[in-house]
């Protein structure tokens, strides 16, 4: 009786389970074949070997800029943690003019290699750490008044007015004001603030450098950020420094500008709003 009652149901159940199992197997096999989306790994093995950094060979001013580190070093976390790198290939000779003292052995690999050229003569640089802007402004005003020809005193007005051409009829000789205006315009043409990046439009970078006799940038170019230093503001500082180098040499300035320290305030807040 039990056998008679169970037989049809049992057979049906077996068939049903069998077909489900078969369907699952087919389905499983199908999905196993769908590895089209798998990701093949890419490994960052290490920092690449350093390039051959040639000693100075260009005009003195550019040489100086090359030997110094114009902006703070890139944070180490800008590149993934490197594994020690094999020795770099032997560097080729300097591609253009024969360098007076080529350095055939590149420096050890670093995440952010810093060009070095010890053979370069160091121009006199003025230490500018811990810049006190208020004290500077005050001292400049004092210095400019008796001299009567220091255009820097004209730069103490409102920041916005500084770049307005009409605002340049400030104290000092007309020549100085005009020259400073020209310098400002050169910097404006060369400065490419990153207004499209979140945070990039809020950065204010103060770049300090010294002009050589030919209007070139000599010595260390230092940057100071208003606000926190992060990847966006570091990139913004690079852009400000780049503008200074790109605009140099600054010619047709009054003689007393040369050898002086110049401080440029790059204000992305203003630039991106305009």
């Amino acid at each position: 009786m039990t056998r008679r009652e169970l037989s049809p149901a049992f057979l049906g159940s077996v068939l049903l389970h069998g077909s489900v199992a078969a369907a699952l197997l087919i389905s499983f096999h199908f999905t196993r074949d769908l590895k089209v989306g798998a990701v093949v790994p890419v490994t960052i093995v290490s920092s690449a070997p350093d390039a051959d950094i040639r000693p100075a060979e260009q005009a003195p001013e550019t040489q100086t800029a090359q030997t110094e580190e114009p902006v703070p070093a890139v944070p180490p976390d800008a590149s993934p943690a490197p594994v020690p790198t094999p020795q770099p290939p032997a560097p080729a000779p300097a591609p253009s003019k024969p360098a007076p003292a080529p350095k055939p052995t590149p420096a050890p690999p670093k995440p952010t290699p810093t060009p070095t050229a010890a053979a370069k003569p160091q121009p006199p640089t003025k230490a500018d750490k811990g810049l006190d802007l208020d004290a500077l402004a005050a001292s400049v005003s004092k210095l400019a008044k008796p001299a009567g020809a220091r255009p820097s005193s004209a730069a103490k007005g409102a920041a916005r007015a500084e770049t307005a051409p009409v605002a340049r009829t400030a104290p000092g000789t007309g020549l100085s004001a005009l020259a400073l205006n020209g310098m400002t315009e050169d910097l404006q043409r060369r400065w490419n603030p990153n207004c499209d990046v979140e945070g990039g439009r809020d950065v204010v970078v103060k770049v300090t450098f010294t002009l050589g006799g030919g209007g070139q940038v000599v010595g260390q170019v230092s940057t100071q950020l208003v606000g926190a230093r992060n990847a966006v503001s570091t990139a913004a500082a690079d852009r400000a420094v780049r503008a200074v180098y790109a605009a140099a040499p600054f010619r047709n300035l009054p003689r007393d500008f040369y050898g002086e320290q110049i401080k440029v305030n790059f204000n992305a807040r203003e630039a991106c709003a305009s």
Binding site: T43, P49, A51, Q188, D238, C272
Partner: protein
């Protein structure tokens, strides 16, 4: 003693008159309040190493150009040829063409492995900004190019890149009424498309997990709808289970441990969340209205969703447990498909107003609403992992749907270079 006093007096006088050294250093101050805002000119000569070197440079160039933040220079303008990646470039030659940055590199194959060295140079400061080496299998050269693009992008803008990513979407072919919809995946630049379903059923709303190479999507068959999880690396596919009613609009939580989705029963849709480990389900909304399109905040504590409980579709934010829902959109028109940005700063949405559809963004509190695009039918935004670029679908009046991208400023808007039709894109996180 008298001499010492005299010296001190002289020093004091000099200092007071502003002639002392510290004052002389103060010098000249200039304020620059305007700039030449433009995409950054960058030179990307072909990498050494033959055709693959040229191809890698080409992919990098296209990536950077599409971002809108860079302007790759015409290789025909390059003065210095045959760059050697181990030697410093001749900077004057690159200054001459006004390249602000230069990328060069070398490709070699070592023991069957592709080895790519590259360097990023600041042309005017004459310094190396980056120098990295990548290895991979030779057929994987595009990913190497994307990784290099990310490095360059991050170093020069300060933002994380988004090039080494993929997009899952619904590939569409055929006309209205006969449209075939297939689940597909491609690189963010439209390359390497792969198709994950055969088109025998409709696929909708695929979404990436932000923690793994896993997607969730809705499959619509004549017998009903299901939500699936699909692991792209193993090929494993599983259903979330059977629900009474139609299930749709799934989305992962930021930790990948939960999926929120909508269930429609008798004309009323509500939002549920399932724990993927325990498979327990919790109901988050119980309003007699259509509640749908849930999207988690990046910290997982809140959910933005779309509801017509106020009369027409608007955006609401509630706790991830369904608590304290509050409306955040109050503009004209209908707001749908909200998506929280990976950075948490914005919520992107589709807005229908004035006979057009728009992609827009607003702050999570509803402030600072910005419309980024307008067309016959723009919808379904998804965020790149850096939170700066959105991808969406744009359908023309003729019924052809294509994938487009736009940045958060709305300035950089362009089609995604995928040749076919597509809709419902979902951006992956950065690949490892």
């Amino acid at each position: 003693m008298r001499l010492k006093s005299l010296m001190l007096a002289l020093a004091a006088t000099l200092f007071a008159s502003g002639l002392a050294v510290p004052a002389a250093q103060a010098a000249i101050e200039v304020n620059v309040n305007r700039g030449d805002v433009q995409p950054l000119p960058i030179a990307l000569p072909a990498f050494g190493g033959g055709q693959v070197g040229a191809d890698i440079a080409g992919v990098i160039s296209a990536n950077l150009q599409r971002s809108g933040l860079f302007r790759p220079l015409d290789p025909a303008s390059f003065v210095e040829k045959d760059l050697n990646a181990a030697v410093q470039p001749q900077f004057p030659a690159w200054k001459q063409i006004n390249a602000q940055a230069l990328v060069n590199g070398q490709v070699t194959v070592v023991n069957g492995q592709l080895v790519v060295d590259f360097r990023l140079w600041d042309v005017f400061a004459e310094q190396q900004l980056l120098g990295l080496q990548f290895t991979s299998s030779p057929e994987n050269w595009r990913r190497v190019a994307h990784k290099i693009s990310d490095q360059i992008y991050e170093r020069l803008t300060g933002e994380k890149g988004y090039f080494d990513t993929r997009v899952v979407f619904v590939a569409e072919s055929g006309g209205r009424g006969t449209k075939k919809k297939v689940l597909a995946i491609m690189d963010q630049d439209g390359a390497n498309p792969s198709y994950l379903t055969d088109g025998s059923y409709i696929v909708m709303t695929p979404r990436f997990s932000s923690t793994s190479q896993e997607i969730t999507y809705m499959a619509l068959r004549p017998e009903g709808s299901s939500i699936y999880l699909f692991n792209l690396e193993t090929g494993r596919r599983e259903s979330l289970g059977d629900f009474k009613g139609m299930v749709f609009a799934p989305r992962f939580s930021p930790d990948g441990g939960r999926v929120a989705f909508s269930v429609e029963r008798g004309g009323n849709s509500d939002i549920f969340v399932m724990d993927l480990k325990s498979h327990t389900t919790a109901r988050l909304t119980a309003d007699p209205s259509i509640d749908t399109s849930p999207s988690f905040s990046p910290d997982g504590t809140k959910i933005v969703f779309n509801s017509d409980r106020g009369g027409n579709p608007q955006l609401y934010v509630m706790g991830a447990d369904g608590s304290s829902p509050r409306r955040i959109s109050f503009g004209e028109g209908k707001y749908t498909t909200p998506v929280w940005s990976p950075t948490g700063e914005f919520i992107a949405f589709t807005k229908q107003v004035g006979g057009e559809f728009h992609i827009g963004v607003m702050r999570p509190d509803g402030s600072d609403e910005r419309i980024l695009t307008s067309s016959y039918l723009d919808e379904g935004p998804t965020w790149a992992p850096n939170g700066r670029v959105l991808m969406f679908s744009r359908e023309s009046a003729g019924g052809v749907s294509k994938l487009w991208s736009v940045d958060v400023t709305g300035r950089i808007q362009q089609p995604v270079p995928y040749p076919g039709g597509g809709s419902d894109p979902a951006w992956s996180p950065l690949l490892n």
